[in-house]
Symmetry: C2
Subunit: 449 residues, 2 copies
């Protein structure tokens, strides 16, 4: 992304009409990099730059553009030229584009396409967002089992330029039911007359169209595969999900998790592109909820007003004690949220993990209690040191166990474990911390009668 000079150049070059220079520059670049530069332009200038490329590359670059910018370009581009680009695009990318277009734009675009393509787009665009159907592509190759290796290669050779990936072809029976798959390299190394049905692998993994996109992506990652076929309820192949789309899904879901543990919810765009209103909406809900959550901490303090009034030195330790419970709890919650997301730990591990957390938290709490006991002596006396140290151990242990358990509890009720954000854990740990600290203080320290 360090194309700073080039980006600046592109805008000026377009404005001043140095189109040949742009063409030369573009030849040196990967379509993804060209797209990154065009993304920064105004729509009309972007179209001028895009139009300089050959059709195949136009389609590839177009597929890499931000969705918002694609829609803007669709508005300024001449209908016929846009239709030609759409014909060339990958089947999954153009279905995504279709979903972003307005009704008017769709009506302007569709007549430029042949019947089969219109149907392909409508079919792919119809699958619900977040499912395998919504991320799959129809650019895959199929083979009947009774072809020979040579015949199969001829068929693939004929179809190759159209297909996103022919590294693996899917073997289907006369009803298009998936019965196996064969790698291109196995076809090449097989005896010329060997039948596809004899070479193919029969235990081909497949997913259903309605499967969750994250499960599909995790399967591709787990089995180190290039593409996973998608079948309908009758076992007929309807598409494939490719490794690059799986990576995008994993990145997207990870970003969502990341935001959720930071109490940012449902941000409707990338952070870089988000508007003030989008960010406000994504952040205000949890902030206000947490304010009211913190009323309980305030109420706890108010409840112990007599103890505080008698021993104002207690206030010095309040922030560090309640923060420690929240911090230890946040650590425990973070570890569990990510481990649950990657499948590193599972729901049934809760019991063992809780015991392990108890041991870890005790060790952490004792270390921290030791550290603060000196501060207790310094600001007061032995009974203050004892109050502060004992509170620290209890607060860290209770905070950790809450933080560790919350993601599991949320998962148990089919909520997202990542809702167990650091701020939520901290707020709960704060209330608990206030109660533990002042309860111990009230019973350890003498009150004026």
């Amino acid at each position: 992304m360090d194309n700073e000079t080039l980006e600046f150049d592109l805008e000026t070059l377009v404005q001043e009409g140095h189109l040949d220079t742009i063409r030369e520059r573009f030849e040196q670049l990967h379509p993804a990099d060209i797209a990154a530069m065009i993304n920064e332009l105004e729509a009309r200038e972007g179209w001028t730059a895009l139009a300089l490329l050959e059709l195949a590359e136009q389609a590839e670059v177009f597929g890499y553009l931000d969705h918002d910018f694609q829609v803007e370009l669709a508005t300024v581009a001449p209908r016929a030229k846009l239709a030609r680009i759409v014909v060339e695009m990958n089947a999954d990318e153009r279905a995504d584009l279709y979903n972003e277009l307005s009704d008017e734009q769709r009506e302007a675009l569709m007549p430029g396409l042949v019947q089969a393509e219109r149907e392909d787009i409508r079919r792919l665009a119809a699958y619900e967002e977040g499912t395998a159907g919504a991320i799959m592509t129809s650019d895959y190759a199929t083979l009947p089992p009774d072809l020979t290796a040579t015949q199969a290669l001829t068929k693939l050779r004929r179809e190759a330029p159209d297909k996103e990936t022919i590294y693996r072809a899917y073997v289907v029976d006369e009803d298009r039911k998936l019965i196996g798959s064969v790698r291109l390299q196995d076809l090449i190394t097989a005896p010329a007359r060997a039948k596809v049905g004899g070479i193919m692998e029969t235990n081909t993994l497949a997913v259903a169209v309605s499967d969750d996109q994250e499960d599909v992506a995790r399967k591709i990652a787990r089995y180190d595969i290039l593409a996973l076929p998608v079948v309908d309820a009758d076992g007929r192949i309807v598409g494939i999900v490719t490794h690059d789309d799986a990576l995008d899904v994993i990145e997207e879901e990870t970003t969502d998790d990341f935001h959720r543990v930071g109490t940012v919810t449902n941000l409707a765009s990338s952070v870089g592109e988000a508007t003030i209103l989008m960010l406000y909406r994504a952040r205000i809900v949890w902030l206000v909820l947490l304010v009211f959550g913190n009323i309980f901490s305030g109420a706890g303090i108010a409840y112990f007003e007599d103890t505080i009034a008698a021993h104002l030195a207690l206030m010095f330790f309040l922030p560090m004690l309640i923060a420690s419970g929240g911090n230890a709890g946040s650590q425990a919650a973070t570890l569990m949220v990510r481990a649950l997301a990657t499948g590193d730990v599972e729901f049934r591990d809760w019991g063992y993990l809780l015991l392990r957390e108890l041991a870890v938290a005790l060790a952490l709490g004792l270390t921290m209690a030791f550290a603060v006991s000196f501060l207790g002596f310094w600001r007061g006396d032995a009974s203050l040191a004892a109050t502060v140290s004992l509170s620290m151990v209890l607060i860290v242990v209770v905070g950790s166990l809450i933080g560790m358990s919350l993601p599991f509890a949320l998962a148990r009720f089919n909520l997202d474990p990542a809702t167990a954000s650091a701020p939520l854990v901290t707020s709960i740990a704060d209330v608990v911390g206030v109660m533990i600290y002042f309860s111990i203080a009230t019973s350890f320290l003498s009150l004026p009668s």
Copy 2:
């Protein structure tokens, strides 16, 4: 991962010697799933189960096992059999294994391998962890430019069973310098007599052996490619990094970021497998640092003891005010940490993002101030309400700007932006919150003279 019944079965089946049953079960399963089940066994039982597979599958399953378990198996497995598995393993996976073995184990293993394999393992194992060299494999195919398409296919056909991926072959000159690459499907569709040098793509992306593994992985993700060739200082090809390794790197780095944002550092194993001591070590450092960070909040409160003694009602609002600054700041930090990691925003965007954050934070602060002003009236009077509301706005704005800027400031000094954890931001925001709140209170509320 829902192989609960199967896993239980496997242990019992191994112990009771039902080896034929295990063989049948294994036939239904993907190597990754078999590995997940073997991982749960004792080393000796694991070896018994692994030995039931055919050699090629043994090697594949072995590659999916946890590194710790691989080393345990290497201890119990007969030398000769282990050597045969190592010969069959992917070049990058066996180099990783070599790095995990003790000197004794290495000495026991190496004589079982032929010279070329020993050298390949030592060469790959020598690259520094975290670099392209450390994750690359030597299982790739090369072609000279002067072969015809037919000759090239014959060569690849001969080499195919050995190579991890021959979807793309790399074209090298007589010094092994990378001059281009060619897709298998392009060789198949090319005229039989066309020269490789004429069909190949010349603008093949490549990375250097010393490049950071995360940069390499992000490049593979950005350009949607299957593998990226790795070249030495003279431009000679020395390996390739494949898409599945890129995905593993991205997952690993994301987990690190996730943990770092939760103040968990350098966890030496997966969360599920970590020992109590590992977890203690990964968590204690930041917890103790933050305790001392919170001394400043305590000192701030102690400094305003007179104000507090005169208006104990102020304490009720303390938790919610300082927590709000920390929460808004954590949100801002989380958004920036992730956006910087994925390349969504860059260092040069700081200025614009700061202005946007100011606007968002003002809107958030005003909303929250409005909410708490009622509480101010309820617990006190108009001057308390004014104190609390004004403090809320200022604390949220300052907390947000700190949270948003900290990841950039860390990146500026070449530190990891993810060090801007929610607890760190909260601790800083707490101190600032205490100072803002009590300063405003001291000037707004009357003190007994």
